[in-house]
Symmetry: C2
Subunit: 341 residues, 2 copies
């Protein structure tokens, strides 16, 4: 549909990581610092040229849609798409196939990873990313992904599309996110399989704070400090050259995880399934916390310098108790173009 | 041995409650507020006249000692006892028999209850308490008990002998304790049977605070606020006249217990046995926290307005998991003279 160019007839393959909150869930709502990291459960998108339609296939969530170019042209005009500033032209006839390792609706950034892949792939296929302009290209991808997130979520914080675009880690405070260099951090991502309502959990914290401001406000301050120390510990780990410094950084990370989980319990957002997860990890010498809204949902266990056997034993214990476990890493690379033709 | 009077030939029976910390363990070390309550597991002491010796029989801890009056007279002189201000004369030949429902060495004030009983019974048998001078008498008992605690513990905080003398509740901050009027509070006192070192736990918190002051200091502030709100909630419960106000106060007490336990986890003083205790209580709709130093030791479950069946079920669950459970109440009356002749 880009009038000026010859039709594109190639294939683009891209991927983006998911997102995990290491510190700052809930307190971020009150303007405190949060630290999010790229999660190495990636979303892959392949966009290839097609005859006269645009199709979208998301087998992991059982969605398969096809629109004729004619339909889309009408919609495009109706929406005034061509007049929008920085508007990418609507893509040529093409088929998009998305596969994701990420569970959806889990607070792990699945929609942002999707949005990043889609905007990145379309910008690539339309030749809108300049070779050699790494950072500028990522900014463009991130900006478009944010628009997609706005359509899906209304008023997204911007944290998810940032981390899914840039990967690594993002230090988020007061609406501004700063990238943080991090080493890969080996974790177990654990699904409690207990559904939760993020909205209800956020309300619960707000009400508890309204009832006991003098007790809850210092907890939010402590969570802010924990996020700051968490970034410092990641930085220490990244720059450690000696084994003992690496070990010290891992110990600090584990300690901060333990403190954070206690504070989340104090806010009332843990859940028996999460408490059991933490206890099982602890029984294997590992530290764990909920990640995201809590009340069920997901937790992470940091491996630190634990031996393979201990980690394997912890996985087995968790699975035996009905949890779903992924052995993966945080600090994963961001948006990546694997193939563009 | 009181030269001036005829020898006493009667019997005195007294009792004193134990002590439970409701809020403020660990943070009290940093000058924050603590709330301790009288525990209705009482220590009973009977002192009766004897021929020519002083004997002490503590069957619960397998202690039985007898000293001749002659020996004691020599010791008394050697220690300069007669010159001490406010010195009670050494008692006549008598036998003291102590029975206690309190576990010892558990942070439940067993030594203070013993000291209060002993000083109260001796002051009574020696006619040193003035009839009709309730408060002044208790102050005298408390002061003598504190001396006994100094001999046993070196530098006691004064909180234990205060609560075991006055009963009810004591608001303790910066070395000063203020009595607080409280209604009886039904609880389960639970022994994890896991031994702990109070000293090591206190050191652990100090080291964690040294490592992460910006994260730990606000937690101590929150604990201070919790203790203050806890006193308010007890006061609200005491003054509630309507069922709904009583229910609201119980809900607040339970919520503060939950927050407090989360913060103690964040300080690193919980233990798997305590976490399991809390989880078992929670599964029965009840809230629990560790009491005292943590790391094992004892926990309390507040019954609130739970039905008899739920409480019985919780007891059973705890006992099935190997815990020792007492159904008792907090806010117990203080030092009591049951019989004096």
């Amino acid at each position: 549909m880009s009038g000026e160019d010859a039709s594109w007839s190639g294939e683009v393959r891209v991927s983006a990581p998911g997102k995990v909150i290491l510190h700052g869930e809930h307190s971020v709502v009150y303007g405190k610092r949060a630290v999010a990291l790229g999660l190495d459960l990636r979303t892959h998108l392949t966009v290839s040229a097609a005859a006269d339609s645009v199709s979208l296939c998301l087998p992991d969530v059982d969605i398969s849609k096809t629109w004729s170019l004619e339909e889309l042209r009408a919609l495009w005009k109706q929406m005034g798409g061509a007049q929008a500033p920085d508007a990418a032209p609507l893509a040529d006839a093409q088929a998009a196939l998305l596969r994701s390792q990420l569970p959806t609706g889990a607070g792990l950034g699945s929609s942002a990873a999707y949005a990043v892949c889609l905007s990145g792939a379309l910008l690539t296929s339309q030749g809108r990313l300049d070779p050699g302009e790494g950072r500028a290209n990522l900014e463009k991808v991130c900006r478009w992904a944010f628009r997609s997130e706005q359509i899906i979520h209304g008023t997204p914080s911007g944290i998810d599309n940032s981390i899914c675009t840039y990967g690594g880690a993002v230090n988020f405070k007061g609406g501004a996110s700063t990238p943080v260099e991090v080493p890969p951090l080996q974790v177990l991502l654990v699904n409690t399989k207990v559904p939760r309502s993020t909205k209800a959990l956020i309300s619960g914290v707000r009400e508890r704070r309204e009832r006991h401001p003098s007790a809850i406000d210092p907890i939010l301050d402590s969570l802010d400090a924990l996020a700051e120390r968490g970034i410092q510990a990641l930085h220490d780990l990244a720059s450690a050259t000696r084994d003992q410094d690496r070990a010290a950084a891992h110990e600090t990370i584990a300690e901060l995880i333990e403190i954070n989980q206690g504070l989340l319990c104090a806010l009332g957002v843990s859940h028996p399934s999460l408490d059991r997860l933490v206890a099982l990890a602890q029984a294997n010498g590992l530290r764990a916390k909920l990640t995201g809204a809590g009340g069920g949902g997901f937790g992470i266990v940091v491996e630190g310098l634990a031996g393979k056997e201990d980690v394997a034993k912890c996985c087995l214990d968790l699975e035996t108790h009905g949890y779903q476990v992924w052995r993966t890493r945080l600090g994963a690379p961001g948006f990546t173009i694997h193939h563009a033709q």
